[in-house]
């Protein structure tokens, strides 16, 4: 009666909302869909067929080639070894930068000292310095330490770049924890690291999840640092993918390129699918309390 027109407008609004969401989802998912179907076609089918036509049969040859025998530059071994390179960079870099961030955040929240706020401010500046600015000095530094073109060198760079962000995450989360917990632990006789390990870290699960996802994605997807600081043997998968796509003998093998790109994107996709729920939860938990 009185409410009927309201319901109609609200229903229309809701419908419009879903239409927009669907359109946006379509725009974002379309390229992925095209990549997927292209990777399942053979070269002949790609050339003769339509971009959007479905593959005539499920053909995983391109995936096998991309993994094991596609040519990137002069070597023709696929992207498998570079895929593992990425893991060798990402895993230690994520663990170290997350632990450092947790420790920094703990100090900046619970063990304030003269100038600790300034320190935090400087770390935040570090988050927003464009990476291009540090390329040359960092190259000199890595050379000085004998780490140029090596996996430990890349790990070091990623740890340094990432620690600003991880510190910010943990600090903003810990600020929301009750100070009295730390006071209680101090009076119970616990020292600096004991409190960190037994009281603070067990309460940090949400923010650890956020930080690990953030760092994993950042480091896995990094191209700039990877191409500048890696050697031929230590290239991460993003750099190898670029080389593979830019290397062509005869015709372009779009199916192999697409398969390689999907393989390279798979780990971050899986991380999001497994832990994405915690990512959103952790981010908002920190935001509300901080």
């Amino acid at each position: 009666m009185v409410e009927a027109p309201m319901t109609v407008t609200r229903r229309a609004a809701r419908l419009g909302l879903y239409a927009i969401l669907a359109a946006v989802a379509f725009i974002y998912l379309m390229p992925v869909w095209v990549m997927l179907i292209t990777s399942l076609k053979d070269v002949e089918e790609i050339r003769s067929g339509n971009l959007l036509s479905l593959p005539s049969s499920l053909n995983f040859d391109a995936w096998v080639t991309a993994w094991g025998s596609a040519c990137a530059g002069s070597s023709c071994e696929g992207i498998s070894s570079y895929f593992w390179n990425s893991f060798q960079i990402v895993i230690p870099a994520v663990i170290i930068s997350t632990l450092l961030g947790a420790l920094n955040g703990y100090v900046l929240s619970f063990w304030r000292f003269r100038g600790s706020e300034l320190m935090f401010g400087l770390l935040l500046v570090g988050c927003f310095i464009p990476l291009q600015v540090i390329l040359l000095p960092m190259a000199r530094t890595l050379a000085f330490f004998g780490l140029a073109n090596s996996t430990p060198g890349l790990v070091l760079v990623h740890v340094i770049v990432g620690t600003g962000f991880t510190t910010m995450f943990f600090r903003n989360f810990y600020i929301g924890l009750p100070q009295e917990l730390i006071k209680a632990a101090k009076l119970d006789g616990a020292g600096f690291f004991f409190i960190f390990r037994r009281v603070v870290l067990p309460l940090s699960t949400p923010i650890i999840v956020v930080t690990v996802i953030w760092q994993f994605t950042q480091i896995w997807n990094d191209f700039l640092l990877g191409i500048v600081y890696s050697g031929a043997e230590t290239q991460p998968v993003t750099v190898a993918l670029n080389n593979l796509v830019n290397t062509s003998f005869g015709g372009k093998q779009y199916n192999v390129d697409m398969a390689a790109a999907l393989i390279a994107a798979l780990p971050t996709l899986i991380v999001y699918m497994v832990a994405g729920k915690y990512f959103v939860k952790g981010l908002t938990a920190g935001a509300v309390k901080g």
């Binding site: 009295e180 006071k183 209680a184 009076l187 119970d188 009281v199």
Partner: protein, 371 residues
């Protein structure tokens, strides 16, 4: 031997002193309460005793040891926080045993201690639960258990009951008093609740503006307050402050009040000698509500007692007593009457004023002038 001595303690955060030279000393086994309105510095003082705040100047001693610059973890102090501060990731048993674990007490001794404390506080059935699964009162018990398990030299309680509902607060108050009586522990307890202070303490330090206004036993604080602030802060309903003029002779000073009929009456004062020099001056008479009552036959002969017709403005029966709001010298005064005495609002009633514990304050400074 003094269990805790605070000598001239000053705290300064850079914009003036928060604490201005605190001197307090308590014996082993005593229950000290720091009480005062918010912002008086009582929590800062407690944090300084705990070692969580630095001392700007002055000393803090525990027994004969100067602990002014000792880390909190080395002070052998346990504290119960207002928010309880239980470790959310540990079970109740783990919370209680945490301090013992840090001090490397063997596992079976820890288990024994947890059992002893749990029994003492009747929380045996909660030992496996996490703090999140407990009610407020249960958390309060666990927080106390955590403090008791270590058997420290000194216990600190920081407004431990203020997060509980009224009924539970009274129960836990009794519980804490019982524990103190049974265990003979030395306790420093911060509260803004003057009833908690009166009921629990062996000694009370009433604080305001970073200064200890008075340090003494509950009876001293209640009956012989140093100044108008202490007199007004302790006691509920608060002491009546009646502006009045001193009269009489040096040998028998009196204080003038105007009764319900407009007649000026002379009330006797307990200590004429101290007030003789003030005759003719306007002062503040401090009189507790329970000293203005219905006529009590057994007191009739007391020279400090006077009958006074007083106008009844409001009556508030509480069951045990009837609080009557009346008027003297243009100021509202509270009187505590027996429940059976019949008074009618608007009419005058014949009341009895007992001046034996009346106190007098300087009108300008609020300091005591009659001792």
């Amino acid at each position: 031997m003094a269990a805790l001595t605070i000598e001239n303690a000053v705290k300064n955060y850079g914009q003036g002193d928060i604490l201005k030279g605190i001197n307090i000393s308590i014996e082993s086994g005593e229950f000290l309460i720091l009480v005062g309105p918010s912002g008086c510095g009582k929590s800062t003082l407690m944090n300084m005793i705990a070692g969580l705040e630095t001392v700007t100047s002055g000393r803090i001693l525990m027994g004969d040891d100067d602990v002014t610059n000792v880390q909190p973890k080395d002070r052998d102090i346990a504290m119960v926080f207002q928010s309880y501060a239980l470790y959310p990731n540990m079970s109740v048993a783990e919370n209680i045993a945490f301090g013992l674990e840090i001090r490397k007490v063997p596992k079976h001794e820890r288990a024994q201690e947890v059992e002893r404390v749990a029994k003492l506080l009747q929380i045996e059935h909660l030992l496996d639960r996490k703090p999140g699964q407990l009610s407020g009162g249960q958390r309060q018990r666990v927080a106390m258990g955590r403090a008791l398990a270590r058997r420290p030299r000194l216990y600190l309680f920081d407004e431990p009951l203020s997060n509980l509902d009224a009924k539970l607060r009274v129960e836990m108050r009794t519980e804490i008093k019982k524990l103190h009586q049974n265990l003979g522990t030395t306790i420093v307890y911060v509260t803004h609740d003057q009833i908690e202070a009166m009921t629990l303490a062996d000694r009370i330090a009433v604080m305001k503006d970073g200064i200890v206004q008075q340090f003494g036993t509950p009876q001293e604080i209640y009956n012989d307050p140093n100044n108008q602030f202490v007199a007004g802060f302790m006691g509920s309903p608060a002491m009546n402050f009646i502006p009045a003029k001193l009269a009489g002779t040096a040998a028998a000073v009196t204080v003038e009040v105007t009764d319900a009929n407009g007649a000026v009456q002379q009330l006797p004062v307990p200590n004429s000698a101290a007030l003789a020099s003030q005759i003719g001056n306007e002062v503040v008479l401090g009189l507790r509500p329970e000293k203005i009552t219905e006529p009590l036959p057994h007191k009739e002969a007391d020279p400090m007692v006077t009958h006074l017709p007083m106008k009844v403005l409001v009556t508030e029966p509480t069951g045990a007593d009837t609080m009557v709001v009346s008027e003297l010298n243009g100021t509202q005064v509270d009187c505590r009457l027996g429940p059976r005495f019949d008074v009618t609002p608007g009419a005058a009633a014949d009341l009895m004023v007992d001046m034996s514990l009346a106190v007098f304050f300087d009108k300008a400074t609020g300091e005591r002038i009659d001792r």
